[in-house]
Symmetry: C2
Subunit: 451 residues, 2 copies
């Protein structure tokens, strides 16, 4: 691993400086010997301008393969730097489902013009995928599948596979249909190869794991990878076969969703392109909105503290513990939110489980709060006196219980109102627990200290 990484870093650097010097000969010399996979990595690390130049220096045979493996966002950027006829050749060369991924990244006018330039056959296939809503499996399936009838023999089916293999997205998972195109089973090519030539499909096939074309692409992708299958038939509302959903698309969907979730958990937008080739201003833009929203939220803490300003002036020592207390509340809330957000993404928890989750998090939070509270009481009490110790201990207990409960329920509530659970997540919860934690703190302090 280390060896390969270092090499690719060197290639990228050599390419960067050759392109900066406009030395195309050296650049071509650097990029020609590397594999398709390596070329993809190197290209994604270059700036948009250098990438278009470097792409043209690739050996002709590799160019389409490399293009197919690039991230759709990068594909879109790259197209901007190529000539119209180059763009059209690449676009025509993509599979219909990859084409739709790319179109989702392009301005509507460009996407429309490209679609128009396709051959009628390819246009029809692409349009059938484009007809499904965003984030549905229909939009991520391939309409180029090989299916077979239940009364086909193994030999007939293999002959059909041979005939269609060149065009089809996959031939390894073969949906079996009846005369109304309703899916009645699935056979694996592997099983056909070990079966006798005259065996009948309907006796070989297994019960189909199918997915509806309008279902969520993320949950279908999760299901496919959990099952460890290579593909699933995609069906319409009457169980008729309309396409096939393959594991490479599932993996891409999950990677995309996980990038989104990770970004949201950190209070930022997903860059959707490689970090080092993203302009500084684009990075700043991906963060500024959330930072402002969170700052506005945090200004609530200024108001809460103003209310208790007299108390603070009276017992300055109280202000020493503010960051510790709200920090601990934030951490406890974040832990709960992170666990529940991930459980939601994995399908382990659903929004209807809100009471069950709340019940668990109250207990987890109380347990953690009890432990921290006792520690806080002993340590702070010994140093700052037992009155302050009591305030800190009780506050930690209360804050942890409240924060874990809020943190655990927030992602479920977000999901229930059809928002992304990760949006109402860590930084948001920190801000929320900051304000509530401060109120708890001062209420307890006033009661214990009698002020």
């Amino acid at each position: 691993m280390t060896r390969v990484e270092v090499d690719l870093n060197d290639v990228t650097e050599a390419l960067r400086s050759a392109l900066a010097d406009n030395d195309l000969k050296t650049a071509a010399h650097e990029i020609a010997p590397i594999s398709v996979a390596e070329a993809v990595t190197v290209l994604e690390r270059l700036s948009t301008k250098q990438r278009a130049v470097a792409y043209r220096l690739l050996p002709k045979d590799d160019a389409l393969d490399v293009f197919e493996s690039l991230d759709p966002v990068v594909q879109g950027e790259l197209m901007g730097g190529l000539r119209d006829e180059e763009v059209m050749t690449l676009f025509e060369g993509l599979d219909p489902d990859d084409r739709v991924w790319l179109m989702d990244e392009l301005p509507a006018t460009v996407a429309g013009r490209l679609l128009h330039g396709l051959s009628p056959d390819e246009r029809r296939l692409t349009a059938s995928v484009l007809g499904y809503p965003k984030d549905s499996v229909g939009r991520r399936m391939s309409p180029e599948f090989v299916s077979a009838h239940g009364d086909f023999t193994v030999a007939q089916t293999i002959a059909r596979v041979r005939e269609r293999a060149a065009d089809a997205e996959t031939v390894y998972t073969i949906p079996v249909v009846n005369s109304s195109r309703v899916v009645i089973g699935v056979v694996e090519l592997k099983d056909l190869l070990v079966a006798g030539n005259e065996e009948i499909l309907s006796s070989l096939m297994e019960d189909p794991e199918m997915v509806g074309a309008t279902e969520s692409d993320e949950s279908a992708a999760r299901r496919l990878t959990d099952l460890g299958f290579l593909a699933m038939p995609v069906v319409d509302s009457e169980a008729r076969l309309v396409g096939i959903f393959t594991i490479d698309d599932a993996a891409r969907i999950l990677e995309y969703e996980e990038s989104q979730d990770a970004a949201r958990q950190g209070g930022t937008e997903d860059l959707r392109r490689p970090y080092l080739s993203t302009p500084i201003l684009h990075i700043a833009r991906s963060r500024v909105v959330w930072l402002l929203v969170l700052a506005v939220g945090a200004s609530l803490t200024v108001q809460v503290l103003s209310v208790f300003e007299a108390t603070l002036a009276q017992v300055t020592a109280l202000s020493l513990f503010v960051p510790l207390l709200i920090g601990t509340g934030g951490n406890t809330g974040n832990q709960a939110a992170t666990t529940v957000t991930r459980a939601l993404a994995l399908g382990d928890v659903h929004s209807s489980d809100v009471w069950r989750v709340a019940g668990r998090e109250v207990r987890v939070g109380f347990f953690l709060g009890l432990l921290l509270g006792v520690l806080g009481f002993v340590i702070t009490g010994a140093i700052f006196g037992w009155n302050i110790g009591t305030v800190i201990g009780l506050t930690l207990l209360a804050v942890c219980t409240v924060a874990a409960t809020i943190g655990g329920c927030m992602p479920l509530l977000a999901k229930a109102i059809h928002a992304d659970p990760a949006v109402f997540s860590n930084p948001f919860i920190s801000t929320f627990t900051d304000a509530s934690g401060l109120i708890i703190y001062f209420v307890i302090a006033k009661a214990v200290l009698g002020i």
Copy 2:
């Protein structure tokens, strides 16, 4: 999607209450008609005890398929509730690579006893995988592959595939080797099916994308899914074929790594099992260590504030902004850390890029700080006076710049010392930026206010 989820919720609930009432007939009636995939979901949502009972109620034909698809952690738990001979049958029925996943979750004595009970052939295959280090591809590969020689004809190769298909992990990607078992290419079964029977493999094969057996499993999994391939040959240090690495294992590795990263980002340990079936104490345990570490870190803020207690007593208004300022610093640091951690996981950034990342984050942080600083100056200045406004504005500028830089570099430094980048992540960075933010704040305040 909703329909299926609701149904499974109902099944799970019905099963739970039937099992609680010891009503096995109703329980069997609930679980019998659902598919393998659904049974997996339902079982993973039950408690350990109920799961073992429910598992035994599954139709015999489905039981092994369901077991294979369960998460290895859940498999291990389930085994504890089954009879020895049931356990041995299940264990013998697994593929060697799945068996090793499971063994990694079992106590060493149990794993050893099970390994000993295998047939000599299966034991040999399993031992060859077990010989590779944890987190290496060797440990996640299958030793049951179909390979072919470069001088084989298509007909010869297909005959070989037919002969081996029943045992092999996959027959769709066929490594091509020379007489010393060195991998010289790869052919896809699909391409064999459309080629002429007498064509020679060496003229059909493509350059192989291979992976070394001791390479990191995560980076290999990422590479495989990025390429959209179904499998890659695994080779030893002399490029000799030792196994095959398939996309279903790659997807499982990535899901596991992403759960780990998500958990660490939230300052908790990955539960490694479904949330709702995890005991409360286990959840608390996964959080308590981090919470204590972070609380100890946060006690630094108490010390920093004690140093400036006199200043705070003099200008109580300063304490009002403490949560806002450190919160904004934490958010800015978290945003940078999240972006860079994800870029590291995706291979877009390497630890050698630390200066480049630092250079970018200084600028991003400065830009964000400038914006927030100006806003903070105007708003706070208008309400609390221009002196305080100046302090807040300058502090926001400085804190954002420092926090983004630290947040961006921390994951890279962690990686450089071979620690998990996600460990030194969000809550850790918040704690770190809290203390440095407070120092910056009071230094600026003393300078501007002349106290």
